[in-house]
């Protein structure tokens, strides 16, 4: 397969690159700052693309690669891939489900604990020498807080399982009620928000879920409520969230994703009730390598005409 041209869009993982290099003729998009030159020389031969949430596979991109057969996304989310267009053109799409479920759920709990208990602020307090002047303030207990999850899929369920061990009552919103689940269902996000202390975004990003957390939801969450976003930035109306935090209309937020990564609204930098992470939900060595293995496994399967491991389209 060393003759097959595969394009990787972003330097996400050295292990992924190295393994792709062994198997294919790997072309690194970032080595070509001159996009026109790149597409002139390579576009006809590229049969596979490895992309990620920061490099969309939209119509324009797909059309620029006439020989494209497969898009293997290094992510579980697929809002950055025009699935309908790929299907229409016969381009296969794969993602990396399941391998990152536990990591993202772990981070969601870590974000909740660090945000509610002020662990980052505590750390800053010590490092700045302020402890010598007096005690840091009290923070709010995490155990027993009502956790409301938007989206009870793999990740939402894993978060619920963990939060339950902290005696957190769990409720959720989903497109449809899940009768096999023991958790309390709310038919709208606003109702969910008004009945929980910690609102967690864990659903896929689609046309319907864009800005699913809006002003109305934030108002319902209220001044004692916390928002945790480990989904996608566009799930939340970011300017409304910033305003709610700056004005103290919600108690705090733990955010791993933003509408326009890597840009984070600077108004948030000065708030001590907000924790900001650079999209690290799946960011552990083991998981990133497992994701890489899935990407490679899918590409190998496709080019050997075997069934894809994790096809989406």
């Amino acid at each position: 397969m060393e003759n097959i041209d595969v394009l990787i869009t972003t330097p996400v993982n050295p292990y992924l690159e190295q393994e792709l290099d062994k198997r294919f003729n790997l072309i690194r998009l970032w080595n070509y700052p001159q996009k026109q030159e790149f597409f002139k020389n390579h576009s006809d031969s590229i049969r596979g693309v490895v992309n990620n949430p920061w490099h969309p596979a939209d119509r324009e991109f797909i059309d620029s690669l006439p020989a494209l057969e497969i898009v293997s996304s290094y992510s579980v989310g697929l809002d950055h891939v025009d699935l309908g267009y790929c299907k229409g053109k016969g381009v296969k799409v794969t993602n990396t489900p399941d391998v990152l479920t536990e990591d993202v759920a772990d981070l969601a709990i870590g974000l909740m604990l660090t945000t509610l208990r002020g662990i980052s602020e505590c750390d800053r307090y010590v490092r700045s020498g302020l402890w010598k002047k007096g005690d840091f303030k009290l923070t709010t207990k995490f155990s027993g807080k009502k956790v409301g999850i938007i989206g009870l899929g793999r990740i939402g369920t894993a978060i619920a399982k963990r939060a339950e061990a902290f005696n957190c009552p769990i409720s959720y919103y989903s497109r449809s009620e899940k009768p096999e689940s023991n958790y309390k269902y709310f038919p709208s996000v606003v109702e969910l928000a008004s009945h929980c202390d910690i609102l967690v975004v864990a659903c896929p990003l689609t046309e319907q879920t864009r800005h699913i957390v809006n002003r109305e939801v934030l108002d319902a969450l209220g001044p004692k409520g916390f928002l945790i976003n480990i989904g996608r930035g566009p799930h939340v109306d970011e300017p409304e969230l910033v305003a709610a935090l700056v004005e103290g209309r919600i108690a705090g937020a733990g955010l791993d994703v933003f509408e326009n990564e890597p840009h984070v609204p600077e108004e948030l930098f000065g708030l001590d009730n907000v924790v900001l992470l650079p999209h690290v939900g799946s960011g552990t060595v083991e998981t990133r390598n497992a994701m890489a293995d899935l990407v490679i496994g899918n590409l190998e399967a496709h080019f050997s005409k075997k069934p894809l491991l994790t096809p989406v389209v």
Partner: protein
């Protein structure tokens, strides 16, 4: 004041520097007497119950000031500031906080562990410093696209080779008391392997037991220290234990600073011989070894593991319940077995 004369006096033992985070209210059960009270000298001699505000020490010389005390009521998770042997010798009973702080303590321990393993606070600092988008100079073709590409590369500058999964870890709990038990319960759904050491093996506990901390460390990737400080446990985490835990090992301490040989711990961390640490307590608070400030694999906390209004309200309830029981000659709620300690 007339009402107060009918209520039994309870001395609030507080050395002047140490302020309880919440004001001590009047109660319908007892009359709290601070050292500033004009009647203090009278009550000091006759009071049968003493409430200790941590970390005010209660040693022999203090107990000498309270000749009538029969019961000392602790208000903190730790009781190492109270000379328990002295209390036993004087037939003074001592009550602890029971499980008042257990949930918050366990939550904080897990929070520190996750924060260290996933570098949450370090990542937060990174973003807050404006480092996520990295502006660099590159030959510009289409300027807008180039800047975006550079930002993408900056995004992955965050990558750390040592950020690892909790679920595959072996977590060892040092001390399976009120807090340790809840730590274990919270860890279960994360999928990690849980083991513990304790003074005695606990029946009906499903986790693996190791008789010594060294054995536990040898078989663990992370250690969570939730045991009490006593003569037997001082520096229980020493060089041998840190070596056994290994280069990728992580220590979380929400017990007492003196449980750990702090000099050794700092050395191990600075030299890269230990994977990381989440520390809420230190040997000489509020002094924290400055060498730790530069490390991204360390989370430092100013003794706040149980610092929530909920915990303080819980302990107030425990205190009142113990004092009520004492004056009604009923069994105390959370009496400490002094034979265990001495």
């Amino acid at each position: 004041m007339a009402d107060d004369n009918n209520l039994p006096a309870v001395i609030i033992h507080r050395l002047s520097d140490f302020q309880h985070p919440l004001p001590w209210p009047k109660h319908t059960i007892f009359n709290p007497i601070e050292s500033s009270d004009p009647l203090y000298p009278v009550h000091r001699a006759s009071a049968r119950v003493l409430i200790v505000i941590p970390p005010s020490p209660l040693k022999a010389e203090h107990l000498d000031q309270y000749p009538s005390v029969e019961c000392v009521v602790g208000t903190s998770a730790g009781v190492d500031h109270i000379d328990l042997a002295e209390c036993r010798a004087r037939n003074i009973r001592v009550t602890g906080a029971g499980s008042a702080f257990a949930e918050d303590g366990a939550d904080y321990a897990i929070g520190l562990l996750l924060d260290v393993l996933r570098r949450v606070s370090a990542a937060h600092r990174f973003v807050r410093a404006g480092l996520w988008p990295v502006k660099d100079h590159f030959p510009l073709g289409n300027k807008a696209i180039c800047l975006v590409e550079m930002d993408m590369i900056g995004l992955f500058r965050w990558w750390h080779d040592d950020i690892t999964v909790l679920g595959e870890k072996r977590v060892g709990i040092v001390g399976l008391g009120n807090i340790g038990t809840l730590v274990a319960k919270r860890l279960e759904p994360f999928g990690c392997t849980i083991a513990y050491t304790s003074r005695n093996k606990k029946p009906q506990i499903p986790y693996a037991y190791y008789p010594t901390v060294l054995d536990l460390a040898t078989n663990s990737d992370s250690l969570i220290i939730c045991c009490a400080l006593s003569n037997k446990t001082r520096h229980i985490i020493n060089r041998d234990v840190l070596t056994a835990l290994g280069k990728k090992g992580v220590i979380v301490n929400i017990g007492r600073g003196a449980l750990v040989d702090e000099k050794e711990l700092v050395k191990f961390l600075v030299e890269g011989e230990l994977g990381g640490a989440g520390l809420d307590v230190f040997e000489n608070e509020p002094e924290v070894p400055k060498e730790l400030y530069m490390l991204d694999n360390v989370v430092l906390s100013p003794h706040r593991a149980v610092a929530t209004p909920e915990s303080f309200n819980n302990v107030m309830e425990v205190v009142i319940a113990n004092i009520t029981a004492f004056f009604l000659n009923k069994p105390l709620l959370s009496e400490i077995d002094l034979n265990d300690w001495c």
